[in-house]
Symmetry: C2
Subunit: 213 residues, 2 copies
């Protein structure tokens, strides 16, 4: 059975911004206890043994809180520690291969950065889209061109699947993204590295919920 | 059924030294037709879509020649294109996870760089060991300390599994490695980037076969 998932406040863990593996685990625990609804592990420079060890701990921390753990790109790691799902980019293993390897019971998210990639999204194979960067971001070195809020709203008018918006989203600019049609927002630096993770998370979550009311 | 394999002359493809994906494919074809017995794809900086596309072509080129294709580290790629096996290092997914994901029917090789790692090799889970670097090498940035031929011979006296030697091996120094007890030699730059791949491969293979005679 595929786990239920809620894209509202989707934390992407970054080893540099979160203070390494232990910082990521502590951040994920505090965020999940204060309103984060999903957590993704993303560490493109890590070797896979580090991936496996950290993901295993994260799963043990998040499962009791009902927060799914999503593995970025590394489907073998996700299979080895039975993650709740994976998130793949346009240059990662393609959705059909990912679904074949993972089976029907896991969440698959796919990044899309423009109208063509949204239109090409293989609806039967994936569960949600990550669309961005909505705003400029310093977190991802190889990010695509910025979409901007106006075009993002246009894209949402024809969204084929649930969408989590990503890229430069923080307290203060999350509400307009939800109002434009996103099902949730993904953040890195708005939570990772913040001095008070619970407060930062609750503020974001309040803004997101408020934008829907 | 696990494919038969012969470690005698094990080509490790490197995108920089081989001239990119097409260069790797051309090199693998020429080497496999002239005495290379196994081919490994190793491209630590590639995204997985590139891995999948190149590995799929390599498999189609090598299978008719009876030469197994081994995927370095990326078990998800190996599963997606049904490679003959994988090669993992000490910081990659551990052998038990690799075997669980791959099943009994695929080859698994493990890198070992010292006596402790050889002694720890999980015999029931893996099929061969890659031991090195025997000599200094410029090909692998994160290589372990050089073993040297004398210590390599000592290690071979108690080898628990078939061993392919790696690290700075080329025509002229392959025979002593075989004489010291290796079942084969792995090479990168001794084939990749050589002006005449068939001749370079045949010379190496002749030296290896001669060292056993």
């Amino acid at each position: 059975m595929k786990p239920q998932f809620d894209l509202s406040l989707y934390l992407v863990l970054d080893p540099d911004l979160c203070g390494g593996a232990q910082g990521m685990i502590d951040t994920a625990r505090a965020a999940a206890a204060n309103g984060a609804t999903m957590v993704q592990l993303r560490a493109p420079n890590w070797k896979k043994r580090q991936w496996l060890e950290t993901a295993t701990v994260l799963k043990a921390v998040l499962a009791p809180l009902g927060v799914p753990l999503i593995i970025n790109d590394q489907i073998d790691v996700a299979l080895a520690m039975q993650a709740d799902g994976v998130h793949i980019g346009q240059a990662d293993l393609p959705p059909d291969a990912a679904r074949r390897l993972l089976g029907a019971g896991r969440i698959i998210g796919l990044s899309a950065s423009n109208a063509a990639q949204l239109a090409d999204a293989p609806l039967g194979l994936i569960d949600y889209l990550g669309v961005g960067p909505v705003h400029p971001t310093g977190t991802k070195a190889d990010a695509s061109p910025v979409i901007g809020l106006d075009l993002f709203g246009d894209l949402m008018a024809a969204k084929p699947l649930p969408v989590v918006a990503i890229g430069g989203i923080k307290a203060g600019n999350a509400a307009p993204v939800i109002a434009a049609g996103a099902d949730g927002v993904a953040v890195v630096s708005a939570i990772c590295g913040q001095p008070d993770i619970p407060t930062a998370t609750r503020a974001l979550r309040r803004e997101i919920d408020g934008a829907r009311a």
